[in-house]
């Protein structure tokens, strides 16, 4: 029997009491040299590297910032960075390595939902703590995960409502285009139900998927044009990763303008548009909880800190430092974890989970982000931005204030019976 199997069977035999003791001994061990290890689990290569690499960098920046101010409860943060290489099973392996070998107190990572689904059983089995910084499809609630990105009602639904409004162009037909995996499929299922509730028929909704790393969008852009001839159309894109670059290139080359058929994207931010010629894309939309172009004091600080960090570490992005929504969510997540640890006076996962409830942080979005007291999601404001010629977004619509997340979308039947709180949370 190998070591991993041995630990697993030991746990099954002796139950969680041993696990808690093990966790406690970990804390004591790291207390001796006053260092706490945390994991960073982002793809640094492969199709998702375009989006995830900066999240690793912004996490390291935030650790530096916290360390410079005395660390967490006096402990210096020591990051353990691993590269799961856009390979979903590898995510689970690396997560297990972080939790069992490196014995990290918390992990910040994942972008695609398929990677999160892949690591979820590992975190639940080993009682780890994952901070997930990206908007996602909902339909999940684990006591071991804190979701600092948006749930569908904090991104997708407001965006579609905007498209249907007079200001947004009054779209009557919708072309749902996504990468073929769980996030786009679930989001589109929710959106279809939402559109039905607004009186849009199935004949006015098209749903198209492409594989990861797809590069040939000729036919699809042609199909969009054809579909748009049937009435005022908007495209809702859940394309993820580096496929976005050829998609937007093809849109520009085929002359599909935002004033005719606007494309609203849920996974395209400032970073993904880097290096794309954005002049033909002016007016296409993105919905996020943060944009780099927001004007407020905390965003100015955040941008300055990032620019200085990128320059100091000679990152390839240093000549044009960009910030985006998942970076902000990573930043919020790390700070909230620090606050929760200090409130709990412990790195123990169960205690930190309890202390996370109701944590507040002045976010770069200009609003105070608050961790919900029950459902592990943040209360966040929603912004809808249009691409400008310089690759930034100008905000054309926003909510009055932060809104509460609904991880179980009311537009999926059966969800009304689900509990708005993860199972198995201990009441310490």
């Amino acid at each position: 029997m190998d070591r991993r199997g041995f630990i697993k069977s030991l746990k099954n035999l002796l139950g969680p009491a041993i696990a808690a003791m093990l966790a406690a001994s970990v804390t004591q061990a790291s207390a001796a040299d006053k260092v706490v290890k945390v994991g960073v689990l982002h793809s640094l290569s492969g199709t998702m590297a375009i989006s995830e690499t900066v999240l690793k960098d912004v996490a390291l920046m935030t650790f530096d910032e916290i360390n410079a101010k005395g660390g967490v409860m006096g402990y210096k943060i020591e990051p353990v960075v691993v590269d799961p290489a856009s390979n979903w099973p590898l995510f689970a392996e690396k997560a297990r390595q972080l939790l069992t070998q490196d014995k990290v107190a918390a992990v910040f990572g994942c972008w695609t939902s398929v990677s999160r689904k892949s690591v979820l059983p590992v975190f639940e089995e080993l009682n780890g703590l994952l901070f997930y910084p990206v908007q996602y499809e909902g339909e999940e609630l684990s006591k071991n995960v804190f979701y600092t990105g948006a749930a569908p009602n904090q991104q997708a639904i407001p965006a579609v409502e905007y498209l249907m409004s007079k200001e947004g162009g009054g779209a009557k037909r919708f072309f749902l285009l996504g990468t073929d995996y769980v996030y786009p499929r679930t989001t589109n299922k929710i959106l279809r139900a939402f559109l039905h509730s607004k009186g849009v028929d199935d004949k006015d909704i098209a749903e198209v998927y492409t594989p990861f790393s797809h590069t040939d969008y000729q036919t699809i852009v042609g199909n969009i044009k054809q579909f748009a001839a049937g009435g005022k159309t908007a495209v809702i894109s859940t394309i993820n990763g580096d496929s976005n670059v050829p998609f937007y290139k093809e849109l520009g080359n085929q002359g599909l303008k935002a004033t005719d058929v606007p494309v609203v994207a849920f996974s395209v931010g400032e970073e993904e548009l880097r290096g794309v010629d954005t002049k033909p894309l002016v007016g296409h939309l993105a919905a996020w909880n943060y944009f780099m172009s927001l004007k407020n004091a905390s965003n100015d600080d955040f941008k300055k800190e990032w620019a200085a960090y990128a320059k100091a570490k000679k990152l390839s992005s240093a000549d044009k430092p960009l910030t985006n929504d998942p970076m902000e969510a990573t930043y919020i997540g790390i700070h909230m974890w620090k606050q929760a640890v200090e409130k709990a006076h412990s790195f123990d996962v169960d205690k930190v989970i309890v202390a996370m409830a109701g944590q507040q942080f002045k976010a770069p979005s200009g609003f105070v982000a608050e961790m919900d007291s029950k459902n592990h999601h943040l209360h966040k404001p929603v912004f809808i931005g249009e691409v400008k010629s310089d690759g930034q977004f100008s905000v054309v619509w926003k909510t009055k204030g932060p809104i509460r997340a609904q991880p179980w979308s009311p537009f999926i039947p059966g969800n009304d019976k689900k509990k708005d709180e993860p199972e198995g949370k201990s009441k310490v």
């Binding site: 000729q218 036919t219 699809i220 050829p246 100008s394």
Partner: protein, 535 residues
């Protein structure tokens, strides 16, 4: 008194420049900048009705996102200089706390229509034509008098025809029934998606199932117009599909041509072929970066140097590969397969270490952006057109090389009968190296072309290796013509299936087709006849 004098002088100066005198209505400008969506829209209509060049300047600045506000003042900012939008007076120094005026899609659409309306009476025919084209999809009812006026004075046939269809879209809901019927007939001759949308609108039903439009004759005219438009749109679609098929075929051809030499002619199963493509793409990237930093004025021509660089880089890597590894493994396909696969991993990792794991950005030169509009709903992108011609050129060059040159003769000789070729004095070993270098170099050219349409990253080759082998195996080993037919055929099959069943299923269907095909015809589409096969 002084102010009045200044005003008079200003007015006199304006009159001297033969422009309408009235200053812009401050209230209208105020609504344009600070109002909500509807107010902005009405303000644009009002400004268009004024027809003042200063109104045009303001709208143009707003469309270019050059309008800013400082408190209640509206400024047109151009670099460090600014003028007041209402009075036209220069503003210096610039106020510090300026805000951009946010332009959303709705506003942008109305602005471009308004600006086009201003240009309808421009002296240049080309400006008028492009303005009329632009208005085709975005004109609103308020512009009808303006368009009628333009029609009255327009002499040019093309511009007239454009204007007439715009007028038709606006008269679709006129009060006079005959005007409406004429408008519908005019729309029926159009081939734009917009015309279809408008005609569909006439055939809309209420939830109860009755038509919104009560006039029977209008409905039937709309119905027949819609059929005609649909027909033309369907043609556009077919042309688009044809082009997409040829384009994908040309890309597959480029990726597979090099393999047709190394695998087809030499019998080496080169799993590192995809990585040679990747080397070519990175060579293009390096040349592009060099041009950007050292010769920015020549940036548009970087491909002229990028192509030979990609060829040479990939050919050198290929020849080194052949000298160091493959020449010891001729005739042992399994070992070659494993060795080259290992090399492909080494190459990927090497590129990752040198250039980083993230994709690098290769920008299209300006002449390869955008496209030509063939029909109203078909735009052929320049980068794909260029690649189609490029693939054809590479194919012809390679065909000539193999059939007309001494090296080509040697390569064919060695392929057909190595021992006999050696007997008559062909240096077979050296020919192997040169031929492998040639195949690799063509893979490099493919990489150069691919960098113009897709992402350039260390994994680039992985997505093309399977496709390349598919093309070569389907086409028949050892045959250039087969490679061409197979590439174009697969391109079409893929695109046809994709438009019918989506990209994911299309890929699967093509693979299944090839599996079945190879079962039935293991030698591929075209097979070498006679004894040569056993060589």
């Amino acid at each position: 008194m002084m102010r009045r004098l200044a005003w008079l002088i200003g007015a006199a100066m304006l009159m001297a420049s033969a422009a309408p005198v009235a200053a812009l209505d401050a209230a209208v400008v105020d609504r344009l900048v600070f109002g909500d969506g509807d107010e902005k829209s009405r303000a644009i209509d009002a400004l268009v009705a004024e027809g003042d060049p200063r109104a045009e300047r303001l709208l143009q600045a707003l469309a270019d996102e050059n309008v800013q506000t400082a408190g209640q003042r509206v400024l047109i900012v151009n670099g460090d200089a600014a003028i007041d939008a209402v009075t036209g007076a220069a503003v210096a120094p610039l106020p510090a706390d300026r805000d951009d005026v946010v332009v959303n899609n709705r506003l942008r659409r109305e602005l471009s229509a308004a600006l086009a309306a201003f240009k309808l009476t421009a002296p240049s025919r080309d400006v008028r034509l492009s303005a009329a084209r632009q208005l085709a999809d975005s004109a609103d009812a308020a512009m009808l008098p303006l368009i009628k006026r333009a029609l009255g004075s327009e002499q040019d046939v093309a511009v007239r025809s454009s204007l007439e269809s715009i007028a038709a879209t606006l008269e679709l809901h006129a009060d006079d029934r005959n005007v409406r019927l004429a408008a519908i007939r005019r729309l029926g001759q159009s081939s734009s998606g917009n015309a279809k949308t408008l005609l569909l609108g006439l055939l809309e039903r209420t939830p109860a199932g009755t038509y919104v439009e009560t006039d029977e004759e209008v409905r039937s005219a709309a119905q027949s117009g819609l059929r005609a438009v649909d027909n033309r749109l369907a043609w556009g679609e077919r042309v688009g599909l044809l082009f997409a098929g040829v384009s994908l075929g040309s890309i597959l051809l480029l990726a597979a041509l090099g393999l047709a030499i190394t695998y087809g002619l030499m019998g080496v199963i080169n799993m590192a072929h995809g990585e040679l493509i990747m080397v070519g793409a990175y060579a293009t990237y390096v040349v592009q970066s060099f041009f950007r930093s050292h010769l920015p004025q020549w940036f548009d021509f970087y491909l002229l140097l990028g192509m030979p660089a990609a060829f040479v880089a990939a050919a050198l890597v290929g020849m080194a590969l052949e000298r160091a590894v493959i020449r010891f493994l001729y005739g042992r396909p399994l070992e070659t397969l494993l060795a080259t696969w290992g090399i492909s991993l080494v190459l990927i990792q090497a590129v990752r270490s040198i250039f980083g794991a993230q994709n690098v950005q290769v920008e299209n030169p300006a002449f390869m952006s955008g496209g030509i509009e063939l029909l109203a709903n078909v735009v052929l992108p320049w980068n794909r057109i260029v690649i189609i011609f490029f693939a054809a050129a590479v194919l012809i060059a390679m065909g000539l090389l193999l059939s007309r040159t001494r090296l080509g003769l040697f390569v064919r000789g060695v392929t057909q009968n190595r021992a006999m070729a050696a007997c008559v004095g062909v240096p077979t070993r050296r020919v192997d190296t040169w031929a492998f270098g040639l195949g690799s170099g063509i893979a490099g050219l493919a990489g150069c072309a691919l960098s113009q349409i897709g992402n350039v990253g260390p994994d680039l080759g992985q997505s093309y290796i399977v496709d390349s082998f598919m093309v070569v195996v389907l086409g028949g080993v050892g045959q250039l013509a087969g490679t061409v037919y197979a590439a174009i055929g697969l391109g079409f099959a893929n695109k046809l299936l994709e438009s019918w069943s989506g990209a994911v299923l299309a890929k699967i269907a093509v693979l299944i087709f090839i599996i079945v095909f190879i079962q039935k015809r293991p030698q591929g589409l075209f097979a070498l006849k006679g004894r040569a096969v056993d060589a």
